[in-house]
Amino acid sequence: MNYIKLILPCFAFLVMFTGCKKDEDPIVSTGSLDGIFVLNEGSFGSSNGSISFVTRDGDSKHEDLFYAVNKRPLGDVVQSMTSYNGRGFIVVNNSQKIEIVNLTSFKSMGVISGFSSPRFFLPLSFSKAYVTDWFANRVAIVDLNANKITGSISVGQGPEQIVLAQGRAIVCNIGGFGSDSTVSVINPVTDLVEATIAVGINPNSMAVDKNGAVWVLCGGDVGADWTGGTADDIGGSLFKIDPITLAVTQSFQFGQMNHPLKMTIDAAGENIFFLFGQSAYGGKIRKFNIADNNLPTSDWAAKSYYGLGVDPTSGNVYGAQANDFTNKGWIFRYNIGGTLVDSSKVGIGPSGFLFN
């Protein structure tokens, strides 16, 4: 038997089979990107985080805009997005990077890496930015010309949101895997921590009002069993800080089992919105005017949300429902009066917004 005659066709068949290659997908035209970017975390560990784009009139145009334009996944756990100088800086937490995109075309312009767990991006100038780095308990200094980390500033446990007020960068330290009760104040000129201000347990979000005051929302602590509702549960709190004197000028205490989060403020800098619930990861929308002397006792909207945003252009309020983080999520639009207008299907695990 001539084995070679039998073997060769088999090998040839296998090689032909292997040589097949799929055609590349065509480039997608995005059209105008004047609207709302929805930040979808995705399922942790699955690298299916995405950015959905929705127009202001509620038309869902792209469920995964980054992939549609750039033909590659955005990464694992999309945490936050900031627009600056015509560019979008997308912080992808579990991929340890910041993707930079052109906000007109959404084409990828570069990447900044070297973080351990980046959370929020604060541009300081065309050439410099701060990025909070949760695991490393630091604020990374980034050179925006080279897209490189050039230094770092040690802060508290689990630095989370960062805002600029009266020329100072203020960082809330959410506590990481433990607990913290401080905000760090950084001088962007010297890159030094000027002060550490005591606030409530686990500060998670901040907003700067029309007077320049910094509001710090603290989530409290659900306890070691993660379930809340037990004796070790500590309610959240709200603090107002004068960024010039660095003094706490006002504070409010929520009750036990009340854990507020995801604070944001309207364009006028007068009305604060936040999520309020028993879980540390979601709740119903509540509204608080900066002139109020008491915390709100009723919900502004009935549905529970995982993400929250206020459009500075229209004043509309958006809630994001992540559901089970394995199916697509939804966003819901409310007008200024609190009436539900419509909803749109977005990517997996929507948690935040950038209004373009």
Partner: protein
Amino acid sequence: MLVFAVFVCASVHAQLPPSDTLLHLRTVEISSSKVKRYAAATLQIEIDSLLIKTHYHQQLDQILSTQSLAHIRSYGPGSVSTISLRGMSPSHTATIWNGLNLNSSFLGLSDAALLPVFFFDDISVVHGTMSSLTGNNSIAGAVALASSSSAHQGTKLMLLSEAGSFGEYKLAGRLDVGRNKSYHSLRALRGRAQNDFCYDNFTQFGTPHTIETNAKSATDAIMYIGNYAPNTKNNMSVSLWYQHNERQIPPLMTAFESKEFQNDSALRAVASWKRFIKKGFSNLQLAWLNEQIFYANPLNGIESLSTSHKGLVSHELSYGPWRWVDLGMENATENINASADEYGANVEELRASSAFAANMQLPRRTRMTIQLQKQFVQGFDPPVVFAVGADKQINGDNLIIHAKYATGYLVPTLNDRYWIPGGNLNLRPESSSSMETGFFLTNKRKTSKVAFQIYRMMVDDWIQWAPTLSGYFAPANLKKVKSQGVELATEKSFSSQDKKLKFKLIASLNDVTNVEVYGNPASELIGKQLVYVPNHKLSASVSISSKKYFANTITTLTGRRFTDVPNTQEIDPYLLTNISLGGHYSLNKLKFDLNFSVNNLMEAQYQTIAWRAMPGRSFHITLLSTIN
């Protein structure tokens, strides 16, 4: 110079109830596989001993990925690899070694990347529900592994040395000694790999040429198998296996850095005393399993230590009162003691089970098997499970048709119940029912074989971990799942003098979908394929062999897999081709087997888990030296 080749291939057959079980007992068989003895008519893919030998340098996941219909979900070379049969969860396939279920008490599955082929003499994949035989974890089937001592008198030494791409090497040795009534086998293995392969990372800006980092793996293992037969009626055996693994966990392709690592240790011990009685035997078995898993991520300071101890006592009685029937009964008790940093407190659990089995030879060349099992678990009431199977020979033994109906169950794992946060003490056991039928066709010379099977199974109360709005994952009895498909295994061989040519093809089509989602009857998930389940898998091989040389090529096609529950994202199908060439050389009492192999010959870029990089072409050279 003429090139001859040796042909090695997995044998494929429908497993039938043996007509006389006792005739199949080998002298030094320490634990005749219950799975194989009582497996009702169903497809069984048994990897033959020659093929196992040429894969001594591999781990179980590698040999199963090409030689069986199991779908291997690998997180990368050296990383976790789990076994999925019929599209079911890895916790639905039991891995049984010398009668001991190796599936982790914590996770419910076994990591096939930690099981070195060098330690096994017998590897079989049995398709179909086996719960009435093996209890937990075998809703989809079982992988039966056996390690035994050589049946020969005298001394035999075997040394394996292997080197491969990406900083991989393996050194292993095996010493078999047979003296009078006792036989001993001692094996040791040391394996190291850098796994620093390169790939074009298309998930990153600019598609950088990337070297895989934080992917080192190390394995050290030792095994002893002892067997003592003081007379023809008694046979005592001991199996001991200790293994320690250290593995780094590489980053996702979409990430830049990982410092995670995991160290696993396991001690497995099985002692049995088999006593042959008139028309049967009794087998008393004691087993001990200790496993420890330490995980750490220095980037965020997370560390987790989990330890479990499992003790097992079982007694099996096999009795054939008449020539046409074999009866078997087994009673077992099991104690599990476990602790984990995330459990908060020690967990102790007692389990017990009773099982009955019968193989019957009926008129008109028909055989029937019946099995029944009931397990008792603290806090749970798993259903009574059973299997009824029959086969009929037509035209001698050239055509055998068979059918089987079986029920099964899966008790929630310790992590399912006790992990904080998320653990759910109110979970119900999963339950399943399956039916299958098929045929086994062969020619008179046994040079052509075809096994075909069609199956359908339902799994109710499927347990799944899902993210919650409280910021953590939690398990729930989420849904009902249907799996249906066909399985085909064929081989054709040609022989001429000392030369042999063999073709083999195995293929499966799987349709595994959600049929009901509890609490959400209108869920859009209904009808959707489960994640990471390929619709089809196909493996084709051609082998040629002679007394001195062999060559083998095998190509495996794995279909597309969805990576999200709504079936909107998927990873591409992939085709992998491996080749191996080798020769045998003898010098007096010395024998040498030299094997050169190339994996992923065509440098396919593929993923088995989304965004986990897999290596391109790799080369391996293995020298096996044997002294008799």
